[in-house]
């Protein structure tokens, strides 16, 4: 592989997978809140 191709490979992986990691970290920092929906009237 030529050096430019290697550099582009690295940039592609860093931007796309880095973006995925950043998105997952952001979501993990905002956990699903307990739902404010009314509880069903008769829970078994």
């Amino acid at each position: 592989m030529t050096p430019t191709a290697v550099v582009m490979l690295v940039i592609a992986i860093v931007t796309v997978w880095g973006g995925l990691v950043a998105a997952v970290v952001n979501l993990a920092r905002h956990p699903e809140t307990a739902d404010a929906e009314p509880t069903p009237p008769s829970e078994l």
Partner: protein, 539 residues
């Protein structure tokens, strides 16, 4: 009575946010990620394509994904109901999307069936080395020329029987519902798909010539960036890849709990989809590098996409590589899993729409929708002219179905109904990644411009010469006739009244949601409930 019906008709929901995210990724990651992206990127400047690709993702793909999520979540319905609740006159947009999904579901199933058969063939190299192309078109599909035989009714059992099995499998998943069917299927298939794909990529990287393939894939051709067609193909690809704007994401997000981080989830889905594409690009081009080396040619000589890549090039690689059968089983198995998770999302658009419209239960609606679709699918795609019908329906429904409805929908939502501020407030009311003026500018400005450009380009291309040189009568039925028929049928379906049992007229959950969120009450669902006691009092 009202209480009883409310109990049984509670809207379905995903088990958790993570199941929704997995299902949305399962929908977005489809055949296109595996067999389309690598070649589009290679053609569009290799490593340099990353720039238009990321631009398209950030300025059109993700904003449109947020738009879909906000529509489905704010109006809490399948595509037709969500658009109807936005504005009565917008309902046909939803039905148009539903009908597009009908067309796609019918042909998508047969590709999954082919891939399933090829998983089996790979294990024993059924095609015979050197005969990969002849095997696929002549022995397996028994392809006939539509110009000579017309639309064939000759049944091809090695395609028809697996197609039947695919339909039975997805019907079972659909009948089990959102939580136990779609949710569980994605919970199982998506991690499996990811694992299989990683193993496949690693194995491809060890093939001789793999690095030459990667070099061809990543070597940047900067001149390509000056070509508007490359930018158009990046936007076109992102648009199809994310499964935006044809009802899927609207439907899935309507099954989310009220307080869900919509944009945070959307970013994970979008980047996971792209991450999968990059992985597929590496795997596919490593394998093509090997194929080029074996055939003593360069990568440009073997690079291809779509059906040719999957069913001709990959079998060739499987024949020639050491441990090729493993590569074949992993590759075709991945196609099957990626295809099934996308297909159930496409079917859900249709099932959800009819459930909302008729107020029927899950199983009854699933069977009413799926069985006729399976019959049509079997009739058109288990015969000798399947490939031609598929190719035509796919090309036309992509350009004049998905792209057209997306264009019309953004113009209607942004410019005619002025709903972007409402949707923006809804997104920001519950999400970690806030959207601002830029989001509105992109959705209302850039997206319609790009879609309009792509649409006109396609229109000119398909009018100026017959698509793929197919006969005119054939294109006017399965191409033009089909896409125009979808619009006419969508308008007719919107004229059918919604029964009092449908969610458009009676949806206490939605009324509660609106009042809890301090949104204006829905004129239809609210009227029914407000009027009912008065009638009771008068009699």
């Amino acid at each position: 009575m009202a209480t009883a019906s409310t109990q049984t008709r509670k809207r379905e929901a995903f088990g958790s946010r993570n199941v929704f995210i997995l299902s949305a990724i399962g929908s977005a990651v489809g055949l296109g990620n595996i067999w389309r992206f690598p070649y589009v990127a290679y053609e569009g400047g290799g490593g340099a394509f990353l720039i238009p690709y990321l631009c398209a993702l950030l300025t059109a793909g993700i904003p449109l994904l947020f738009l879909d999520y906000s529509i489905g979540h704010r109006f809490r319905g399948s595509a037709p109901l969500a658009f109807r609740r936005m504005h009565r006159a917008a309902e046909p947009l939803g039905w148009w999307q539903v009908l597009i999904c009908v067309v796609i579901a019918v042909y998508y199933a047969v590709i999954v069936a082919w891939a399933a058969m090829y998983t089996w063939f790979s294990a024993q190299l059924t095609w015979g080395e050197g005969n990969e192309e002849g095997f696929f078109f002549t022995d397996f599909l028994q392809s006939a020329d539509v110009a000579e035989v017309g639309v064939s009714t000759d049944f091809v059992p090695q395609v028809g029987l697996p197609l039947l099995v695919v339909w039975l499998a997805v019907i079972v998943i659909m009948a089990l519902g959102v939580k136990r069917g779609i949710g569980i299927a994605n919970l199982v298939l998506m991690p499996l798909l990811t694992l299989m794909f990683i193993v496949l990529v690693v194995q491809s990287l060890f093939l001789p010539g793999a690095l030459e393939g990667l070099n061809a894939f990543f070597a940047p051709n900067w001149e390509a960036l000056a070509d508007p067609a490359v930018w158009a193909s990046a936007y076109g690809h992102i648009f199809f890849s994310l499964s935006v704007a044809f009802g899927i994401m609207v439907t899935y997000s309507s099954y989310l709990k009220r307080k869900t981080d919509l944009t945070g989830s959307g970013l994970v889905v979008a980047f996971a989809n792209s991450g999968f594409e990059v992985l597929a690009g590496i795997g596919v081009f490593a394998a093509l590098g090997f194929m080029a080396q074996v055939q003593a040619t360069d990568v440009a000589g073997v690079a291809t996409s779509g059906i040719g890549l999957a069913f001709v090039a990959f079998p060739t690689i499987v024949s020639q590589a050491v441990g090729g059968s493993i590569i074949g089983v992993l590759f075709f198995g991945a196609l099957v899993f990626a295809g099934v998770t996308s297909m159930i999302s496409i079917l859900e658009v249709i099932v959800a729409a009819l459930q909302d419209k008729l107020g029927w239960g899950r199983v009854r609606t699933t069977l009413t929708v799926s069985v006729p679709l399976a019959v049509i699918s079997m009739a058109l795609f288990s015969t000798t002219t399947a490939l031609t019908v598929l190719d035509t329906a796919d090309a036309f429904v992509n350009s004049f179905g998905i792209m057209a409805v997306a264009l019309v929908a953004v113009v209607v939502v942004a410019w005619l109904l002025h709903k972007l501020p409402t949707l923006q407030a809804h997104l920001n009311g519950r999400s970690s990644f806030r959207v601002g003026v830029l989001w509105k500018v992109l959705v209302a400005g850039l997206v319609p411009l790009v879609l309009g450009y792509l649409f006109v380009t396609e229109l000119v291309a398909k009018i100026s010469e017959p698509y793929s040189g197919y006969p005119t009568w054939f294109l006017s039925i399965f191409g033009w006739g089909m896409v125009i028929g979808l619009v006419v049928l969508a308008l007719l379906l919107s004229l059918l009244p919604w029964s009092g049992r449908s969610r458009a007229k009676d949806d206490p959950e939605y009324d509660d949601f609106l009042s809890d969120e301090h949104y204006d009450p829905d004129p239809e669902t609210d009227t029914v409930r407000a009027v009912a006691p008065e009638r009771g009092g008068a009699s």
